[in-house]
């Protein structure tokens, strides 16, 4: 940055070329950042699933035909894939969320620990998705 511009002068010094750096393979968002964005995405995905879930729940309770229709739909392959995504959403949001709650209480807030727990939360979520997802498919 130039040091010659005075607050009083209205002539701005020429700007140096800005570092445009959009090589996505070389921008490395730190792991806690990735876990944080995924926490947000998973939360939004689950919010979007709420109306459909409430509707299916009502349908399955009300009559045997409704129950068969709801479970039949839930058992179709494409929907199962969606359920797997929602299962991951729940588990990632769960473990990343517990991590936030612990950090709110003052645990693991320094950088090294924050990195470790971010990896831990994302990892446990993936393993748990495999286990619960196995039961789902």
């Amino acid at each position: 940055m130039s040091s010659q511009s005075s607050p009083l002068s209205d002539r701005k010094p020429p700007l140096p070329p800005r570092p445009v750096f959009l090589d996505l393979w070389r921008i490395r968002l730190p792991l806690p950042g990735v876990v944080s964005i995924l926490h947000r995405i998973s939360g939004v995905l689950m919010v979007l699933a709420i109306p459909i879930s409430a509707w299916l729940f009502g349908m399955a309770v009300t009559s045997e035909t409704g129950f068969q229709r709801a479970t039949g739909w839930l058992n179709s392959p494409l929907i199962k894939l969606l359920l797997l995504v929602l299962m991951w959403s729940f588990l990632h949001h769960l473990f990343a969320g517990i991590r936030y709650l612990l950090m709110d209480l003052g645990y693991a807030v320094d950088l090294a620990a924050a990195r470790r727990t971010a990896a831990l939360a994302a990892g446990i979520a993936l393993v748990a998705t495999l286990i619960l997802g196995g039961g789902l498919l």
């Binding site: 944080s36 947000r40 939360g43 939004v44 689950m46 919010v47 709420i50 109306p51 879930s53 409430a54 509707w55 729940f57 009502g58 399955a60 309770v61 009300t62 009559s63 045997e64 409704g66 129950f67 068969q68 479970t71 299962m87 729940f90 769960l94 969320g97 517990i98 709650l101 709110d104 619960l132 039961g135 789902l136």
Partner: protein, 121 residues
């Protein structure tokens, strides 16, 4: 992680509701994945069991509060034009409110079915 216009109350709601969702939400997920009901009768019996019904009647409003505070934070972060923001926020508020009423009604219907002809006729 927007805290703009969120306030301490929303922050606390978000965290208290999260604790209950961890417990009851995990129970729901495990139960439905590993022991899914085979028929409507079985499903209704499960939903209407006193502890499950009570758990659900608590879960539904807490989940919706958590979802509301959460989606509000996200929408406020990304939607800047005022009218659009109010419009989309209202849309989600109605969607969540409707879902909640619908789900609570389903729990009560299941209770009524189990308690027999005295109530449902």
């Amino acid at each position: 992680m927007s805290r703009q216009a969120a306030g301490l109350k929303a922050w606390i709601i978000q965290r208290l509701s999260a604790v209950y969702i961890v417990l009851f939400g995990s129970y729901l997920a495990i139960q439905l994945v590993f022991a899914p009901p085979a028929s409507q009768a079985e499903f209704v019996a499960w939903v209407a069991a006193p502890l499950v019904a009570l758990g659900l009647l608590l879960y539904i409003p807490l989940l919706l509060l958590h979802a509301w505070v959460g989606i509000r934070d996200v929408l406020i972060d990304y939607i800047k034009p005022y009218e659009l923001r109010v419009g989309v926020l209202s849309f989600f508020a109605l969607l969540l409110l409707g879902s909640g009423v619908w789900a609570i009604q389903a729990v009560l219907v299941a209770r009524a079915m189990l308690s027999g002809p005295g109530i449902t006729g």
